[in-house]
């Protein structure tokens, strides 16, 4: 058969090839984000410049978050633990866009498709703000004392749902108050008339007002009484079940994190050192730092292997001046000379339990 060759076919093939390349790249992007992961944090870095001297020049850099990667599936709760100052709050704020990350990606895969939040400017970010919300640590500072609880809860709706009528907004405020264990008539009251636990419920209601997919909770109960902590945690878990919420739960209380989380991530000096299923990490921590951290928790948990308490020596280095290589090496009981050379990467040790230490099998 005679081959029919029309002019322009070459051109079309060329164009098709190019298009294929583009599709490839787009496909790769989606592969990275893969469907089931609602949020993918890739190599996120958040550095703060430190100014000083006579002319206010930059004299140093605080590496508060220094290359953190993890994925969050829809409906799960990731608990982020670590000592004070290790960068948990900064991580949460960089994800939610309160800080513009220095480097890295925050790929949010919501209903409108995947998008890298870290690259968006303020205006572009706005449509996604309703999908990611935050619950704050301080129940006294997180509510404007000059607004009634009703006004506080409806503020997000005023911004994101201008199509809702006044009636609908009021109804939704009441509904949210009920859902969060408060009474409808309390919407006219002011924050100072509420207890810490009740205020935190108001904060939760505000976070829920725009039907978010992810809620970042930055130590939401650490300012509350122990008896009230459990109530708020249980409320959060009930709401998660009802609305299919996804939580990133930041805390330093390991027992609470274990209770609410499906997975636990352990941070040290701006890096993730271990991440895995909550039970795995809690009962069978592998990274020397996590083992030390967990051995310090007094726990009447019969399942847990009885471990001797590991006491770490030395102080936490400052994120201003991090040790080279593994940042834990100045305190690590099994540190080797190789540890100073290279920053260890998170490696899967089975069942998705990732550990950033090549020597984790070493006993100590």
């Amino acid at each position: 058969m005679e081959e029919i060759k029309k002019p322009g076919v070459d051109l079309i093939t060329e164009k098709l090839n190019r298009l294929e390349g583009k599709i490839d790249r787009i496909y790769k992007f989606f592969e990275e984000t893969d469907e089931e992961n609602l949020l993918t944090v890739k190599d996120l870095k958040m550095y703060f410049p430190v100014f000083g001297g006579v002319f206010s020049t930059q004299v140093a850099t605080v590496k508060a978050v220094d290359g953190v990667s993890f994925k969050v599936k829809k409906g799960e709760t990731i608990g982020v633990v670590g000592e004070s100052g290790c960068g948990k709050t900064t991580l949460g704020r960089a994800i939610i866009g309160l800080y513009k990350p220095t480097a890295g990606k925050v790929i949010f895969n919501g209903q409108t498709g995947a998008v890298d939040l870290a690259r968006l400017d303020r205006g572009e970010f706005k449509p996604y703000r309703k999908d990611i919300q935050m619950i704050f640590q301080d129940p006294y500072a997180s509510l404007n004392p000059r607004m009634s609880v009703g006004e506080i809860i409806r503020e997000p709706m005023d911004i994101h749902n201008p199509e809702m009528s006044e009636r609908e907004k009021l109804d939704k405020v009441k509904w949210l108050l009920n859902k969060c264990g408060l009474r409808e008539e309390q919407s006219a009251r002011y924050p100072h008339e509420f207890s810490g636990g009740q205020r935190q419920r108001v904060g939760i209601a505000r976070a829920l007002a725009t039907n978010p997919e992810i809620i970042i909770a930055d130590e939401p109960v650490s300012a509350l009484d122990v008896s009230i902590q459990a109530q708020v945690i249980n409320l959060m878990m009930d709401l998660q079940e009802e609305f299919g919420l996804t939580y990133i739960f930041i805390a330093h209380d390991l027992a609470i994190v274990k209770h609410i989380s499906t997975r636990i991530a352990v941070m040290y000096l701006g890096n993730l050192v271990e991440i895995g299923d909550a039970d795995e990490v809690y009962n069978n921590a592998k990274h020397p730092y996590s083992r030390a951290l967990l051995s310090a928790v007094p726990q009447p948990d019969p399942e847990r292997k009885d471990k001797n308490r590991i006491i770490l020596e030395g102080d936490v280095p400052t994120p201003l001046n991090k040790p080279s290589g593994c940042s834990f090496r100045t305190r690590c009981p099994i540190a080797k000379s190789e540890c100073a050379a290279k920053i260890p990467e998170l490696k899967d040790t089975g069942n998705g339990h990732m550990v950033a230490c090549p020597f984790w099998k070493t006993e100590f």
Binding site: F125, Q133, R146, M147, S148, E155, P156
Partner: protein
């Protein structure tokens, strides 16, 4: 629906209503205000109400240029002297029936001069506070957010604030000459930096609070946060700043006048009165009443102003923390 302001301020008022010291200081301040406004009704050469020959009622005391006229009848102020009228029969006479607070060495009535002196003080206080607050308010908001302009302003403010305010005042007055306007300008120049700093720091404080971050996470723009979340939280601070600045302006006015750098004589000001008698007392023919009455008035005004500020400060703030340091 009761809103925050009615609720919160009625709480504060209830607290203050039971505080006799606060009520006393408030009444005293009102008294001084009234004294300044109604000075011509208490002391002056023109009648308060008068029926003129053509049968119409007139209020010459409030007329800046009443002229001389014969009235059918007239009600005169209790003290028939104004601030500059000289009683040539009484030089340096002690307090008595005719001159309540005595007279000075050229026969002017001290009572009248003290009362009219209130006017000068209040005028300087009001205008300097008004302009210092306006300038300080806007610059305070600029320095609350980090930017290059903010850095420049902060530098300027710190220079102004390290200079002793009094030195600044003296420089401005010496350069521009003595007058009411120049006193006001000088006070504003030495005060705006303080106000801007206070507003800027309080804004910074509120911006660092989590409720502002919550608003940012919701997608509120900066100016919306400013209007909805910052301004409502600044009202009390603003009120107290006004009072503190007022008290500062009065003190500065009195001190300047005492040094002979204030309002030009013969317009009376308490500071001038004290300074004039000072010379007398030093030279030996002491006329104590010339210094005593302005000093007493000054002391009463200052003490009540300070009590007033302190009580408000505490009432607004249940944690017994001063909102503004003086």
């Amino acid at each position: 629906m009761e809103n925050f302001y009615t609720l919160h301020y009625s709480n504060c008022l209830n607290k203050l209503r039971k505080d006799y010291l606060f009520i006393f200081s408030a009444l005293t301040l009102f008294f001084f205000l009234a004294l300044a406004i109604f000075a011509p009704l208490i002391s002056g050469v023109n009648p308060i109400i008068a029926k003129s020959k053509d049968g119409s009622l007139k209020f010459p005391a409030f007329n800046s240029n009443p002229g001389t006229e014969n009235y059918k009848w007239a009600i005169y102020p209790i003290n028939p002297y104004d601030e500059n009228k000289r009683d040539i029969k009484c030089f340096s006479s002690p307090p008595g029936k005719k001159h309540f607070f005595g007279t000075d060495q050229i026969g002017r009535d001290v009572f009248a001069r003290v009362i009219y002196g209130t006017r000068a003080i209040m005028k300087v206080g009001f205008y300097s506070t008004f302009f210092s607050m306006i300038i300080g308010f806007f610059i305070g908001f600029i320095i609350a957010w980090d930017s290059i302009i903010a850095t420049v302003f902060r530098l300027i403010i710190s220079i102004f604030n390290t200079l002793p305010p009094f030195l600044l005042l003296i420089i401005v007055i010496t350069l521009n000459g003595r007058s009411l306007e120049n006193v006001i300008i000088a006070i504003v120049i030495s005060r705006w930096g303080y106000v801007a700093n206070a507003i800027g720091n309080w804004c910074k404080y509120f911006i660092s609070m989590e409720f502002v971050q919550a608003a940012q996470i919701m997608g509120r723009k900066s100016w919306q946060i400013f209007i909805k979340h910052l301004i409502p939280n600044l009202t009390e601070i603003f009120l107290i700043l006004i009072l503190v600045t007022f008290s500062f302006s009065i003190l500065m006015e009195v001190s300047l006048s005492f040094l002979g750098l204030g309002i030009k004589p013969p317009t009376p000001s308490w500071g001038t009165l004290i300074a004039e008698s000072w010379d007398q007392i030093i030279s030996g023919d002491g006329a104590w009443w010339m210094a005593f009455f302005p000093c007493i008035m000054l002391a009463i005004l200052f003490v009540s102003l300070n009590i007033f500020i302190e009580k408000l400060n505490f009432a607004f703030n249940p944690e017994k923390k001063m909102l503004i340091k003086k």
